[in-house]
């Protein structure tokens, strides 16, 4: 799985209320959620983000609530992957389960620049910067990579349960 996109830099501890405020949790359509993603920190983020863009953040990205609305909103806004020093665990699980690649890199946030175009190679485990520099990333356990390759847990469940509907 290879992704290429323009970088948005974020800081540490980006919480789920900053990603998608609680008042929008009654919305279940990801496209509608996407219109409000990050609206409390970057005005009109939704109109500025381009398909394929990549978030590069500090530590503890996605801390707070278990709301799956958070990764759903990010993905539906067109973000192709999130790189961070570390992730809050429920956000990490949710992102993989809905097919949003989340990548742990200790160095990325310190060296990558805003608007830089970077490439991520998940299987081979590296990020390639515009200047050709390669940063190693933490590899997933195999079964998690499989879920991501499927495009999310939904597809895996469909394969398992979809045919024997009663």
């Amino acid at each position: 799985m290879i992704f290429k996109g323009r970088v948005w830099l974020f800081g540490d501890n980006i919480d789920t209320d900053l990603i998608i405020p609680g008042k929008y949790l009654v919305i279940t359509d990801p496209k509608e959620l996407a219109k409000h993603v990050f609206e409390n920190i970057i005005e009109s983020f939704y109109t500025k983000v381009k398909p394929g863009d990549i978030i590069v953040a500090g530590k503890n990205f996605g801390c707070g609530s278990s709301r799956e609305h958070a990764p759903l909103a990010i993905k539906a806004a067109g973000i192709s992957a999130v790189i961070a020093k570390s992730f809050a665990r429920i956000f990490f699980r949710n992102a993989i389960n809905i097919g949003l690649p989340v990548i742990i890199s200790d160095k990325a946030r310190d060296v990558i620049k805003e608007n830089e175009v970077i490439l991520i190679d998940l299987e081979n485990g590296y990020i390639e910067r515009e200047n050709g520099e390669r940063l190693m990333i933490e590899k997933y356990p195999k079964f998690l990579l499989e879920i991501l390759k499927d495009g999310g847990l939904l597809q895996t469940l469909k394969r398992k349960f979809g045919s024997d509907n009663d």
């Binding site: 209320d17 009654v26 609530s65 759903l72 979809g162």
Partner: protein, 415 residues
Amino acid sequence: MGMTISEKILAKAAGKDKVEPGEYIIGKIDLAMFHDLTGPLTLNVLKEVGYDKPWDPNKIVIIFDHQVPANSITTAELHKILRAYAKKYKIKLHDVGNQGICHQVLAEEYVKPGMLVVGADSHTCTLGALGAFATGIGSTEMAAVVLTGELWFRVPESIKFELKGNLRNGVSAKDIILYIIGKMGVDGALYCAAEFTGDVSKLSIDSRLTICNMAIEMGAKTGIINPDEKTFEYTNVPSSYGNIRSDNDAEYIDEIEVYLDELLPQVALPHSVDNVKPVSEVEGIEVDQVFIGSCTNGRLEDLEAVAKILKGRKVKTRTIIIPASPKVYLEAEKRGYIRIFLEAGAVVCNPNCGPCLGGHMGILADDEVCVSTSNRNFIGRMGSPKAKIYLVSPQTAAVTAIEGKLTDPLKYVGV
């Protein structure tokens, strides 16, 4: 080498004799819960899968708590689809009338020591206070749990927090956990099980639930406490109930001692839960709203502490009090607390999450300041992104309501 309580519960759920931190396991789920905001996404996934029959309807509970009774047409529609699903498969539903904050309802009626509990809500870690391994999950993986009764887990490393001593009057469990988060940072226990030991045994179950509730605010996968006689009595199980406690030679990645005798009332300042100081250092901030409730501090012990302070006094700032469950509400009514709150000039709302996450019942306007007993003071959490939230104990909230500004409760106990 022995095992921690977390490792024991996960090993049992995985059908293994032993598990080690870092190991991935598939665990059989004893209890799964989703609510009115995370449940609809789970049902969307089941709809897309094309198969929605639960693995065991008796092990699933649906609880309305975030926005109940429905506060908008959109919410009403969400409640409607959850009701229909519960009815279709005879799943236990806590609807209007026996609605309540999910973690409190689960504690009162469903959770037993040793269970593996998953809830589609991050504060599911609350239930570790009863000696269960309880953790929050997302909506899509909840769909997987509903269909299969299983879920993957990475066995967490454990951090031991050994409480030592006794709290002084006016200081409570909330101050303990705020103090710990202040020291650890919001990611200080990331992916770990936070195990509370030592003189936690002297604390009530209500207090233990408060402590475990906020484990997630330092990134922990769960908070957990070895069950004792109080736990067995609360959960109505015999004291011979299995060997569910950490071995003496269990391994921890960190062991931290927390001294209670000297602990002062604590406050988490905007906009981060680890931005913690003693209340005495920041007293006097003018307050627009006081909120007492939530899965952190909406229990009987909390309301009792508040009633003691508000009795015969009037609040100076608008004050919203929300009991966590119908059981708590009814007992507070029987004991006369509700009358005390009303006579003091507070509003008492029906059991639910209320303004904690900015859904309804006390949303904040631009530049307003709220002193709250809830668990998160993130930007925009309770409404306007320009509002400020200060997290405190019920005691601090109550004296703040009376004074109209952030106040140290120790002043009211004659210390």
